[in-house]
C-alpha cells in the first residue's frame, strides 16, 4: 500500500484487542500439538493457547498454538497456516515459527492491563503475569506472542525459561554439545553416525597440514612452508595447530619469537599474489625491547620469500579502521532505523539516519583499506603485513576482502568457504565472544561485535557491483549470517581452535564419550549445508550469472580449459554505451601502461587548481577505464554514492519495504530459467554424444523429454576433486546424481510449459526467499514505538539488560 500516515499511537491501544474472531478460538484445535525435537533436545517449558501475532494492525491473521521453550529453540507449533504464504524454504533444524535461543537478543514481557513491561534477563524474577511476549532477535526479526487465553502461570514460566536459556552461563551449555553427543555418539559413548566435518564436500578446514600445502601450491608460494610448532597448541592458545611461515624461518626461531608477540601469535601467511608478493597478518609485538629487532627479522624473512626480494609494507589496521565497539554501535543504530522505528516516521530522515549510523561508512572504510592493500600487492609488487593488536578481528575482514578482490578462486562457493575457514575460523576470530552467545554482562557486551556481518556486507557490495563474478548469491550470504545463531556448527561456536578442542574434550569426558581417534567432538561445520537445507533449497545459493573459472570446454569428450578470448572482452566494451564512455579515459588502445604517470603537468599550468590523486586512486581509476573481467581483479567502487544498503539482509522482514512481484528475485528467476535451459540442452547433447560414441545398435534413441531431468553436465570444477572416476564408478555416480540432483538452478523450466513464456511465481518479492509474515510485529507493540517503551521502562528495570538498546 502507499504511504498513508500511520495511526498515531494512542493509549487506547493499551486495551486488550477485542476478541472478534470466534472461528479462531483455541478450543477447535483438538489434534495434539507436539514439538519436533532434534537429538539431544528437550522441552523445558511450554504454554498452550498462545497467539502468535502476524499482522501489524489487526489480530485477524493471528495464529493459535503452543509456545515451547526447549534447550535449543523457542518453538511455536500451530495447526493454522499463514495466510497468503505459498512459498517457504524448509529449514531442517527449525520449524516455520521457530527461533533458536542463541538468536534471541532480548526478551520483553508485557502486561497491558497493568501497563507494565519488563526486559527479562537470565535468572530474573517476574512480578506480573505477562499478557504478551516480544522477542527481539539477532537476525533482526521481532516476534510477538499473546497470552490472553493461556494459563497465567505457564505463560510466565515459559517467558522466564526463554530468558534464562537464551543466555547460558557456560559454552558447554550451548545446544551444539548435546546435539553432537546425542546425534553422533551412541548411548555407550561410541561414535555411531558419521559426521563429515568438511561439509560433505571438499571445503578445506585448514586443520591439517595438507590443506595448507595445497593452498601454498595453489598460490605458488614456493618460499613459504607449513609449520607445526603449535601442535597441541603448545605455543599460542589462539593460533591453529598448523599454519604457514616464511621458509627461511626455522621452528626454533619461531618458538623464540612467539613469546614477544601479543597472544604468542607468530605472524601468519594468508595468501600469495601470482607476482610473488605475500599477504601476512601479524599481532603487535608486546615486548618493547624486542620490537625493532623482531620487526626487522620478520620483515627480512618475508622479503626473502619474495621472488624479487621486494620490501615489505606494513598496514596498521588499528589506526585506520573503526574498532569493534564502533562497529557494534553502528549496527545497533542501523537496526534501530531499519526494523525498530515505525516505518513512516523514519522515512523523512532516512538518509541522514543511515549516515549517522555510520554502518555504510565502515563498510566503505574496510573496502577502501582492502583496495589499498590490493594496490600494494598488485600495483607495487610489494608484500603486505596487516598489523593489528591481537590480529583476530579487523585483520580477518581485510585479509578476506583482499583475497576476494584478487583471487577468483575465493569467489567460488568452495573457495569462499575455504577463505572464511582460513581467515576467520582458523585465525582465531572470537566468534563465541563476538556473537555473545553466553550470559550477558557489561564485560561480555563490550566484546560483542558484528564483524563477520560487516565482512559479509562488504562481500555483498562486491557481488552487487560485479554480479557475475561470484558463484554464490546474496541469499547464500544471508543464510550464512543467520547460521551464526544456530549454535551447532563448529564454525561459529568457538573463539579459536584450541577452545573447541578443550571444551569438547571436557564435555566428552564428563559424558564418558569415547572419542577414539578423534581428539575432540566432531561438530559439523556450517559448510555441510545439508544439515540445514534440502538439495533443492541449496540451489538458492547458485548464482546463474556466474562466469566460472576457466569454464570448461568439452571438445569431443576431452576437457579443455576455456579462456575468455579477446573477442569477448571487446564485446563487453561494445556493450558500454558511447554516452557513458564520453568524457572518460576510455581508449583501450592508448591505455597507459601500469604505473606510468598519466599527468605530466605543464609547468605553466601549475597555478590551476590541481586535484590531488593518490597513486592508489589513480590505480583504481585506470582499472575502471577497462572492462571488468569477472575472473580477474575486482575493485569496488568506493564512492559513497555507489555503495548501497544490503536490502535483502536489513529489510527482508519489514512488511512495508517488501516489493511484491519485484526486487532482484525477479531477475534471479528469469536468469535461472535461462541457465537451466542451457544445462538441459547441454545434458541432452552429452547424451547424444555418448550414444554416438558407444554405439548401441539395438536400442532406439531414448525419448528426448526424459533427459530434462538428467544431471547437469558440468558440476563446477572442484579444486581438490578426486582423480578421474573409473567407468563403473562413473555409472554409479551418474545414478546417484540422478537421484540427488535436481539441477543447479532453483527455478527450472518445466518441460510442459511452452518455451519463451515463463510465468513468474506470485510469491516472488524483494524479500525472497524470506518473508515478513509474522516476523516483524513492530507496530503492534502496544502502539508505542520501542524507544518510548524503553525510556518508560527504564525506571523500573535493571540497566544491564537495556544497555544494548540505548540510543
Amino acid at each position: 500500500m502507499f504511504s498513508v500516515k500511520p495511526l498515531k499511537p494512542t493509549f487506547k491501544s493499551y486495551l486488550p484487542p477485542l476478541q472478534t474472531d470466534l472461528k479462531k478460538s483455541p478450543q477447535l484445535t483438538i489434534r495434539k500439538l507436539e514439538a519436533k525435537l532434534l537429538p539431544g533436545e528437550i522441552v523445558v517449558n511450554e504454554a498452550n493457547f498462545v497467539r502468535k501475532c502476524i499482522g501489524a494492525d489487526s489480530s485477524q491473521d493471528d495464529l493459535w498454538g503452543k509456545l515451547i521453550c526447549t534447550n535449543f529453540k523457542v518453538s511455536f507449533i500451530t495447526h493454522n497456516s499463514l495466510p497468503q504464504q505459498n512459498f517457504k524454504y524448509v529449514h531442517r533444524l527449525l520449524g516455520e515459527h521457530d527461533v533458536p535461543l542463541a538468536c534471541v537478543e532480548q526478551v520483553v514481557t508485557v502486561n497491558d492491563v497493568k501497563g507494565k513491561q519488563k526486559v527479562l534477563g537470565s535468572n530474573k524474577k517476574l512480578k506480573f503475569n505477562p499478557t504478551e511476549l516480544i522477542l527481539y532477535c539477532k537476525d533482526l526479526r521481532i516476534l510477538r506472542f499473546r497470552f490472553d487465553q493461556a494459563g497465567p502461570e505457564s505463560a510466565k514460566k515459559v517467558c522466564l525459561a526463554i530468558a534464562h536459556y537464551s543466555q547460558p552461563a557456560d559454552p558447554q551449555l550451548l545446544f551444539g554439545f548435546e546435539y553432537v553427543s546425542s546425534r553422533y555418539y551412541g548411548s555407550s559413548g561410541e561414535r555411531v553416525n558419521g559426521v563429515d566435518p568438511g561439509g560433505g564436500q571438499q571445503t578445506p578446514l585448514f586443520d591439517r597440514p595438507s590443506d595448507w600445502d595445497r593452498e601454498i601450491k595453489r598460490t605458488g608460494a614456493s618460499e613459504w612452508r607449513v609449520c607445526s610448532v603449535n601442535e597441541g597448541y603448545t605455543i599460542s592458545p589462539s593460533l591453529p595447530e598448523y599454519f604457514v611461515v616464511p621458509a627461511s624461518l626455522a621452528d626454533q626461531d619461531l618458538k623464540q619469537y612467539a613469546c614477544s608477540f601479543t597472544g604468542q601469535r607468530i605472524p601468519l601467511w594468508c595468501w600469495n599474489h601470482p607476482n610473488g608478493s605475500a599477504l601476512v597478518r601479524m599481532s603487535s609485538i608486546s615486548d618493547p625491547q624486542q620490537q625493532r629487532k623482531l620487526d626487522q627479522r620478520i620483515c627480512s624473512a618475508i622479503t626473502k620469500s619474495h621472488p624479487q626480494r621486494c620490501d615489505v609494507f606494513k598496514s596498521d589496521l588499528d589506526k585506520q579502521l573503526p574498532n569493534i565497539q564502533e562497529v557494534q554501535a553502528a549496527l545497533v543504530k542501523l537496526r534501530q532505523i531499519c526494523v525498530i522505528e515505525p516505518f513512516e516516521e523514519s522515512e523523512e530522515k532516512w538518509l541522514s539516519s543511515l549516515e549517522s549510523s555510520r554502518w555504510m561508512d565502515y563498510v566503505r572504510a574496510f573496502l577502501r583499506h582492502a583496495v589499498e592493500v590490493v594496490y600494494t600487492l598488485e600495483g607495487k609488487h610489494t608484500s603486505v603485513i596487516l598489523l593489528e593488536e591481537e590480529d583476530r578481528d579487523l585483520s580477518c575482514v581485510v585479509a578476506g576482502l583482499v583475497q576476494l578482490m584478487l583471487d577468483p578462486h575465493c569467489r567460488s562457493l568452495l573457495g569462499f568457504q575455504a577463505l572464511v575457514q582460513k581467515e576467520w575460523v582458523m585465525a582465531g576470530h572470537r566468534f563465541l565472544d563476538r556473537c555473545n552467545h553466553l550470559k550477558r554482562n557489561e564485560e561480555r557486551r563490550k566484546e560483542e561485535s558484528p564483524l563477520f556481518l560487516l565482512f559479509l556486507d562488504c562481500v555483498w557490495q562486491l557481488l552487487n557491483q560485479y554480479p557475475s563474478a561470484f558463484e554464490f548469491t546474496e541469499t547464500y550470504l544471508t543464510v550464512l549470517s543467520d547460521s551464526m545463531w544456530i549454535p551447532i556448527f563448529s564454525t561459529f561456536l568457538f573463539n579459536c581452535p584450541k577452545q573447541r578442542a578443550e571444551h569438547s574434550r571436557d564435555f566428552a569426558r564428563s559424558r564418558s564419550i569415547r572419542l577414539g581417534q578423534d581428539q575432540a567432538l566432531r561438530f559439523p561445520a556450517v559448510w555441510d549445508w545439508s544439515q540445514q537445507f534440502s538439495p533443492k533449497d541449496q540451489t538458492l545459493f547458485n548464482n546463474p550469472l556466474y562466469v566460472g573459472k576457466g569454464a570448461t570446454c568439452v571438445q569431443n569428450g576431452a576437457v579443455k580449459t576455456f579462456k575468455r578470448t579477446k573477442k569477448s572482452y571487446s564485446s563487453t566494451l561494445r556493450g558500454l554505451p558511447p554516452a557513458l564512455r564520453n568524457g572518460q579515459l576510455s581508449d583501450l588502445d592508448t591505455l597507459p601502461r601500469r604505473n606510468s604517470l598519466v599527468l605530466r603537468l605543464r609547468p605553466e599550468l601549475g597555478q590551476a587548481r590541481e586535484p590531488c590523486e593518490t597513486p592508489c586512486e589513480r590505480f583504481v581509476r585506470e582499472r575502471f577505464s577497462r572492462p571488468a573481467d569477472p575472473q580477474g581483479m575486482l575493485l569496488p567502487q568506493l564512492l559513497p554514492s555507489h555503495l548501497s544498503l544490503w536490502r535483502l539482509y536489513f529489510l527482508r522482514w519489514v512488511p512495508e519495504a517488501r516489493i511484491p512481484h519485484g526486487g532482484p528475485a525477479t531477475a534471479f528467476h528469469k536468469l535461472s530459467l535461462l541457465v537451466d535451459e542451457i544445462h538441459t540442452l547441454q545434458s541432452r547433447l552429452r547424451h547424444y554424444n555418448t550414444s554416438n560414441s558407444t554405439p548401441t545398435p539395438t536400442g532406439p534413441p531414448p525419448p528426448a523429454p526424459s533427459l530434462a531431468l538428467s544431471p547437469p553436465p558440468n558440476p563446477p570444477q572442484r579444486p581438490h576433486s578426486l582423480s578421474r572416476p573409473q567407468p563403473e564408478q562413473q555409472q554409479q555416480q551418474q545414478q546417484q546424481q540422478q537421484q540427488q540432483h535436481h539441477g543447479r538452478m532453483y527455478f527450472r523450466t518445466s518441460s510442459s510449459a511452452p518455451a519463451g513464456t515463463p510465468s513468474t511465481p506470485d510469491y516472488l518479492s524483494s524479500s525472497f526467499p524470506f518473508s515478513p509474515e509474522g516476523n516483524l510485529c513492530r507496530r503492534g507493540l502496544l502502539g508505542t514505538p520501542l524507544s518510548k517503551l524503553l525510556s518508560g521502562a527504564r525506571i523500573w528495570l535493571s540497566t544491564e539488560t537495556l544497555a544494548n538498546e540505548a540510543l
Partner: protein
C-alpha cells in the same frame, strides 16, 4: 583548409545533395526534405553518409563506423585525429590547438578543441591520457569568460552544461585581437535561437530505416484502448486547435457532452485545458482524465458545464459512484492560485467528487533542488556527508512525492475501480508526470520500448508539455524562470521503477539515458517546440529527424534482456526512501572514479547466444539420430558420420 570526402558505397544519388559546404560559418541551409521518404532505404543500404574531414582522407575505421550507421558519434580510436566523427551536415566551424581543459578529476589536460555546428569536441594530446570530450552544443546552458586574461595572455572559460557537469577551458588569447576566439565562436553556435539561427536538428538529415514520426498515431492508440466505445467518443472539436492551442487535435470525451458544451467548459479551465481522457481501464472502465485547474478565482466562480462534464466522466464508469480529483499541488499553493483566478474544485459544487492534494512542489522548487543536487554530485562528492547532503537537496523526496501521487492514482483506478481526474495548475508539468507514471504502472504496453515512445508522444508531447521553455533549446537565457527539470524528474521516476521491477520493462537504463541526452542535444526534432500545434506549424516531422528513428533502428541496444512480458500485471512500486536511490548512472556518470555497472545484460546476452547455439546443435543431432535410426533399420551396416562440434560451457 578543408577537404570534403563523400563516401557512397552503394552509389546512391544522395551524395550530390549532401556535399558539405566548405566554410559554412554562415550556413543557413534549409534543404528541402520533401523527398526524404523516397530516399529511405532498407537498413543494409543505409551506409552512405558524407563525412567531412579536414586534411585527412577517410580511414577504414570511419568507413566501418559509417556502415554501422551510428549517428551518435563514437570516440575515434586513432590517436592522430583531433576531430570527431561527423554527422551529416555537420561542419567544422572553428578549431584551436593548445587549449587546456581543466578536468576537475585529473587536472589540466592540453589538447585540441573543435567546434562544429553541432558539437564541442576536445581531444587531449597527452599520449597517456586519451581523454575525449564530445558534447552536443545543445547541452550547453551557459558559456562565460572567467576573470580577466592572465599575464601570459591566457583566458579562462567556464561552461555550464544541462547534463550535470561543468567544464573549464584555458587558452591563449589570439595575437590578432580582431580575430574572434574559439569561445566567442562557441557562444555563437551554442545558442542559435538567440542568434536567429535554426537549430542543428533542422539541418541533420540522416536517413533511418524507420521513420520515428510515425510512432504515435492518436487514433490507433485510442483504438488499442478500445475507444471510442458506448461512453466515450473521439471529438474533432480541437481539430484546428481552436478550443485549446496547447492540446492535441484528437480528444476523447464522454459521449453525453456535445462539442458546443466543451467550448463553454474550456472557458472555465485554465488555458482551455478541459478534462479529457488519457487512459481507460480495459475491464472496469475506470478512467484517468486530465485537465488544468478550474478558474474558480477569489469569488468562487463555478461552471455548470464543467460540473456536468465531470459528472459525465463519473457516469461513464458504472463500477463506482465516486470520482476522485487529484490536484498535484500542495493545498496551500492551490489556494494561493485563487488570487490569480485559478483554484480548485469545491466539493459542494462537484457532487460525489472527492478532492485530494498530492503535495508535489512546483517547477521552481524542482529546479532549485536539481541545482543543489548538482552541487552535491559534481565534480566531487563529500564522502563524509554524502547521504545527509543528498537528503538536503530533497531531490529524492520530490521523486518520492511524484511516485507516491502516481501510485495513489493507479491504486484508485485499479483497486478502487474509480475514475480519476488529474490536474495541477496548467496541467502540463505535474499532470503528465502523474498520468504517465500511473499509466506505466497500470498498462504493460507502455513498458515496452515502442509503448513508452507512445506514452511520451501522447501524455507529454501532444498534450503540450512545454519542452522548448522548460529546456531552453539553443537559448542563451540560462536564468529563465520557465526552465525546470520536470521531464528529467519523470524519467528518474521511471528509472526508479525499473530498479524495483528489473524484469518488467522492455527497455534498459541506456534507453532512458539516451532519451535524456537527446532531450538536450538538439539533434532530433522530437523534443522541440511547446505543443502539437507549434510542431505542426514548424513542420518538424518534415524538417527534422525523430529520436525514435534512431532508437527503433537499433533496438537491441536498448533492450532489457531480462524483460518478461507480464501483460496483466499492475506494478505497485514501494515508494519509500528505503528503496529510492540516486540514479548514479546518470547524475554521477562523469566521475572517472565511477565505473558503469558491470554489464549484467552483456552476460545475459552471452547466455542467450549460448542457448541458441545449443538448441541448434541439439536439433541437428536429433535430426541426425533420426536419420541414422531410419538408415540402420534399412541397412544395418550404416556408419553415421560424426559431426560433433565442441561445446563450451560457461556455467
Amino acid at each position: 583548409m578543408e577537404k570534403s570526402g563523400s563516401v557512397d558505397s552503394l552509389g546512391s544519388k544522395q551524395s550530390s545533395s549532401r556535399q558539405p559546404s566548405v566554410d559554412s560559418l554562415s550556413s543557413s541551409s534549409t534543404t528541402s526534405r520533401s523527398d526524404r521518404s523516397s530516399q529511405a532505404k532498407p537498413p543494409s543500404a543505409v551506409s552512405s553518409d558524407s563525412v567531412s574531414v579536414s586534411d585527412l582522407p577517410l580511414s577504414p575505421e570511419q568507413l566501418r563506423a559509417n556502415i554501422r550507421n551510428k549517428p551518435v558519434p563514437k570516440v575515434i580510436r586513432d590517436s592522430h585525429k583531433d576531430e570527431p566523427q561527423m554527422l551529416t551536415k555537420e561542419t567544422v566551424q572553428d578549431m584551436a590547438k593548445d587549449v587546456t581543459y581543466i578536468c576537475p578529476f585529473i587536472g589540466a589536460l592540453r589538447g585540441t578543441l573543435t567546434v562544429t555546428n553541432y558539437r564541442l569536441f576536445f581531444r587531449c594530446m597527452d599520449r597517456d591520457a586519451a581523454l575525449v570530450l564530445d558534447i552536443p552544443l545543445g547541452v550547453l546552458s551557459r558559456v562565460e569568460k572567467i576573470g580577466a586574461a592572465t599575464s601570459r595572455g591566457e583566458v579562462s572559460y567556464g561552461i555550464v552544461c544541462k547534463d550535470i557537469r561543468n567544464l573549464r577551458f584555458v587558452h591563449k588569447q589570439p595575437d590578432d585581437t580582431l580575430k574572434k576566439s574559439i569561445f566567442e565562436n562557441l557562444m555563437k553556435f551554442a545558442f542559435p535561437v538567440s542568434n536567429g539561427q535554426p537549430l542543428f536538428a533542422c539541418e541533420y538529415d540522416q536517413v533511418f530505416p524507420e521513420n520515428g514520426w510515425k510512432v504515435y498515431d492518436a487514433l490507433a492508440e485510442y483504438k488499442r484502448q478500445g475507444l471510442p466505445n458506448e461512453s466515450w467518443r473521439i471529438s474533432k472539436v480541437n481539430d484546428h486547435y481552436e478550443l485549446c492551442d496547447t492540446y492535441p487535435s484528437t480528444l476523447v470525451v464522454p459521449v453525453t457532452i456535445p462539442d458546443e458544451e466543451l467550448k463553454r467548459v474550456a472557458a472555465f479551465r485554465a488555458k482551455g485545458r478541459i478534462s479529457v481522457l488519457s487512459w481507460i481501464h480495459p475491464e472496469s472502465q475506470a478512467t484517468i482524465t486530465r485537465c488544468s485547474q478550474p478558474m474558480v478565482g477569489a469569488n468562487g466562480k463555478c461552471s455548470k458545464e464543467d460540473e456536468k462534464l465531470l459528472q459525465a466522466i463519473m457516469d461513464a464508469n458504472a463500477q463506482s459512484h465516486k470520482l476522485f480529483i487529484f490536484d498535484a499541488r500542495p493545498s496551500v499553493n492551490a489556494a494561493a492560485n485563487k488570487m490569480k483566478g485559478g483554484g480548485f474544485e469545491s466539493e459542494d459544487a462537484y457532487q460525489n467528487a472527492e478532492l485530494v492534494f498530492l503535495d508535489i512542489q512546483n517547477l521552481h522548487v524542482m529546479r532549485e533542488s536539481l541545482r543543489k543536487l548538482k552541487e552535491v554530485v559534481y565534480p566531487n562528492i563529500d564522502e563524509a556527508h554524502w547521504l545527509s547532503n543528498l537528503e538536503s537537496t530533497h531531490w529524492l523526496e520530490h521523486i518520492k512525492a511524484v511516485l507516491a501521487g502516481a501510485l495513489r492514482i493507479a491504486d484508485k483506478v485499479e483497486s478502487g475501480k474509480t475514475s480519476v481526474v488529474v490536474h495541477c495548475s496548467d496541467g502540463w508539468d505535474r499532470t503528465p508526470q502523474l498520468t504517465s507514471l500511473a499509466m506505466l504502472m497500470l498498462d504493460a504496453h507502455y513498458r515496452t520500448i515502442r509503448g513508452f515512445q507512445v506514452l511520451l508522444e501522447k501524455e507529454w508531447l501532444s498534450f503540450g508539455h512545454r519542452f522548448q521553455l522548460r529546456i531552453g533549446h539553443g537559448d542563451k537565457n540560462h536564468t529563465d524562470a520557465d526552465r525546470s527539470p520536470v521531464f528529467l524528474q519523470f524519467i528518474d521516476c521511471v528509472w526508479q521503477m525499473t530498479r524495483q521491477f528489473p524484469a518488467a520493462f522492455e527497455f534498459n537504463e541506456y534507453f532512458l539515458i539516451t532519451i535524456l541526452d537527446h532531450l538536450y542535444s538538439c539533434l532530433f526534432g522530437t523534443f522541440m517546440c511547446n505543443s502539437e500545434q507549434q510542431r505542426l506549424k514548424e513542420e518538424l516531422p518534415k524538417k527534422t529527424v525523430s529520436l525514435w528513428s534512431l532508437i527503433n533502428s537499433q533496438l537491441e541496444e536498448f533492450c532489457n534482456p531480462l524483460y518478461v512480458n507480464y501483460s496483466s500485471h499492475v506494478l505497485f512500486p514501494v515508494v519509500s526512501m528505503r528503496h529510492l536511490e540516486l540514479w548514479v548512472g546518470y547524475y554521477i556518470r562523469w566521475n572517472p572514479r565511477m565505473r558503469p555497472q558491470e554489464p549484467l545484460h552483456q552476460r545475459y546476452k552471452e547466455l542467450l547466444a549460448k542457448r541458441a547455439e545449443l538448441q541448434k546443435r541439439v536439433e541437428e543431432l536429433q535430426r541426425e539420430v533420426a536419420n541414422r535410426a531410419a538408415a540402420s533399420s534399412s541397412e544395418r551396416a550404416g556408419s553415421p558420420t560424426r559431426s560433433i562440434t565442441p561445446v563450451q560451457t560457461f556455467v
